[in-house]
Symmetry: C2
Subunit: 243 residues, 2 copies
DNA sequence: GCAAAAGTGTTCACATTACACCCATGG
DNA sequence: CCATGGGTGTAATGTGAACACTTTTGC
């Protein structure tokens, strides 16, 4: 913000009533990624605006007058997935003039990663469905653009921050984890190199359990070491360059 | 966004008139970095709100009703520096409830890099000044938080994208460039490794000129190879993982 | 000739890549 | 016994970090 109108008339050369500025609505849109059947999926809802009848859209809502952006995005996440202990990352803000038929709506995009199996029963609203990312070609509003950017952001982040564990169950095999990485990155990975890389992070805890019900030799099951991850994060931030 | 109120009453459990949502203002705030005297600087303006009298703030303005976010941010940049051929990067959006005394103002933060010498004469508004980044301890509103985040973003970006050349003159020596990197990263760099690294990018053009008026052996002067950089960008984006 | 910075290569540690075989399980 | 994936190591290559001496110029 905002050294706006009063004492600096040179900035706003065309005089506009200050009240004309306060006619925007803010929304949040959440790109909620899930992982199932070795495919990345996104939670979408049937759009209820006649302009986009039959289209799907991201999960979003207007930000309430008494609500800050984070509160709103976590509210949407909670309302749609029942989950409230997840990480939401702000990605970008979209403010095109005609992106919403109801008026000027500026939207802030967030993404989150959820375990499909953990909350699928809470999807009470049957207009909400998981869609394979690769099948999504069109969405309402500018939501396809938002989705693409959030996916790109996810691809970037996975290299630095192994937060993708949220997409898997509490316990998982290295195969599941590798398939997840492959789905996100859109590439095949070398099994031995992948396991070495993961193992050097030291972020996996061997549960001493193995898979069952797999039609092949069962793999070991691991848990994510959240504590150790938190400590690593703190160390990393503590040793940042000055500033 | 925005599957807002009408047909999905379960989302908004407390009924709020749709018009209550359209009472927000949007602003852009630009963190304009410059480089001079081997120090990173930021362009600040004296805040003209009585609530923050005497404080400095970032350069920002309300987004006009008929203006999208990019247009607004480039307008602010142009108005304050006279420059219109620069790169502006959106960093994050800040929407805290009480961040602005005039009402709910959600601001989108951008940063840009400008050459101080190239535009200093155009700073007609004498309430606008360059401030060494390291001297800035307080700003109006939440602008210190915004500044810190933009600086962090700049530090991240410099590793991947050598856009910082905008901070230097058309021709520059490797010493100037290294000092710039050191100022941004807040660290000392090894001269030989730095020159090797820069030289392998192939993005410098030897102008066959040398410095003058330096009290030591003059260094070669280089130009940034924008064309080659653009091509590298395109190649990099073309070979992205599928999506 | 002195101060100050330009210019220049090698070595080492570490990370990334490519690559192949035997093992355990379910069917 | 067959199919499927589990589990494992090594060599080659590339990348980042550390490090010292000679050269050129202004003063």
């Amino acid at each position: 913000m905002t050294n706006s109108a009063p004492k600096r008339p040179n900035i706003n050369t065309t005089p506009i009533d200050i009240q004309d500025y306060f006619k925007v609505a803010i929304s949040v849109d959440c790109v909620i990624f899930g992982f199932d059947d070795n495919a990345l999926k996104v939670l979408l809802i049937k759009c209820n605006l006649k302009e986009y009848e039959g289209s799907w859209s991201l999960l979003g809502d207007l930000v309430r007058p008494d609500e800050d952006l984070e509160t709103a995005s976590y509210r949407v996440l909670k309302e749609r997935t029942g989950l409230d202990d997840l990480y939401l990352e702000q990605v970008q803000t979209f403010g095109g003039l005609n992106r919403h038929p109801a008026g000027r709506v500026v939207t802030i995009a967030y993404y989150s990663l959820v375990n499909i199996k953990h909350h699928q029963l809470k999807l009470s609203d049957n207009e909400v469905h998981w869609h394979p990312l690769n099948d999504i070609t069109r969405l309402a509003f500018d939501h396809k653009k938002i989705l693409d950017l959030c996916y790109l952001q996810l691809q970037k982040n996975i290299q630095e921050k192994p937060l993708v564990f949220n997409l898997l169950g509490n316990k998982f095999s290295l195969r599941e984890l590798q398939h997840l990485y492959e789905a996100i990155l859109g590439t095949k990975l070398d099994r031995r190199n992948f396991r070495k890389k993961i193992s050097t992070t030291g972020l996996l805890i061997d549960t001493n359990e193995i898979e069952s019900d797999v039609p092949h030799r069962p793999g070991k099951l691991y848990k994510f070491n959240y504590q150790k991850y938190q400590k690593q994060l703190q160390r990393a931030n503590g040793s940042k360059p000055q500033g």
